[in-house]
Subunit: 233 residues, 2 copies
Amino acid sequence: MARNPNMREAILGAAETLFSSHGYSAVSIRDIARAAGANPGSVTYHFKSKDELLLAIYRRHCGPMNDRRAELLAAAMRIRDLGNRLEAIVRAYVVPAFTSSSDLAGGGARFTRLRAMMSAEGNAAVGRIIAEIFDQTNQSFIEAIEQSLPHLSRSTIVWRCQFLLGALYYSLISPERITRLSRGEANGGDVAQAIEQIVVATVASLQAPEIGDASGPRVARRGVKASSEKVPA
Amino acid sequence: MARNPNMREAILGAAETLFSSHGYSAVSIRDIARAAGANPGSVTYHFKSKDELLLAIYRRHCGPMNDRRAELLAAAMRIRDLGNRLEAIVRAYVVPAFTSSSDLAGGGARFTRLRAMMSAEGNAAVGRIIAEIFDQTNQSFIEAIEQSLPHLSRSTIVWRCQFLLGALYYSLISPERITRLSRGEANGGDVAQAIEQIVVATVASLQAPEIGDASGPRVARRGVKASSEKVPA
DNA sequence: ATATCTTTTGTACAACTGTACAAATTCATT
DNA sequence: AATGAATTTGTACAGTTGTACAAAAGATAT
């Protein structure tokens, strides 16, 4: 029966939805098949294994999303005013993680949520892809930020970019927490507001002075004392 | 055989370690028993079920950790200078999440990492505990911040506290990412540095002006336009 | 030592897991 | 209509899952 010409896509979509809301090991191939209206055997036909299915999801999204980020970053770097440029850089990183350009392959909150789940579970197959594909994108953003904030050490920039990604992930993982704690005043599922809040908060944290630097935000003092000797875990 | 008088504790500890590094559904009761040097049946004897075992871990840590937070928060509120007070408030929230007072029950990075995993997996049993126990603590911190930054709307404070928690979680979930992206310049596993970086970044983001507010950070303009109509997922 | 209670062990069960594969079905080309 | 490739189905397998429970082993008190 070669009936559904988009069975492969249906399985991919179902897997994406289920993985992103329950995690990898909590979702079985049979769950995916059921959600996609397919036979379990069909899943192992189109994708050799469960791991391969997960990787196929990543391959579909990573390229378009990081391409879009590169475009927006290039546009941001053409901005003269350093403050506006910094905000544009952060926005270039955040926006493609929340919204998809072409409906399926763009990027989108669902895929970003999936990435959050996978990095929590520490999935081994995904670990390789992340280091390969994402580190390149991340490095170019870090360098762009370094140019806009030359007084900051690379360590501090990396830490603050890590916080950005954590904020981004967690806003997608527990949006209902926003709604609950604000007593309904804010809506955690509001993507547009999430983007604005993340951008404003991140730009402010990036503009903070270096740790141990008592002078103003824009005054340089490069070599900061490395208070980094304790090494647990 | 009532040989090991601390078998219950050994199982709790093993479960904590395994859950915090692989997630809930990826770890089996047999895995836990093996790591604790116990018989699988012994696990279901001390804790009725796998869910109950997870809840026991939460019960052991939540109380001491939030008590410590309350102490530090009370001390912070005695600080007169509003800038220093804000930093002390943030520190009162962050420090107990990273370090344990009494070795086992205090809190500690391992338990916080576990919480990060569970909130990603969306574990139902944990969901109830979180809403009950943590919301109370969170509300008191939000109110303390509201007092120190009266020009900010509650929504914005909640958003930025959400980012704080996301940053905290993710710094424990992917510390090796820090080391890798900084090319060894920073050590993501350095708890002391993580705390300092999180505190500085969070204080700066909290002090940022409200969205849509063009005036300086400390100038009030309460009612901000709610750009919150899009409601997906 | 006897009896009672607590803890540990071992085994069993039904349900579910990822994967493999032959048979059946559909489609495109001739 | 017939051939051949592509897809879907159904079933099977060995291994794992959470849980239940009787039997054994230890501890405690009398």
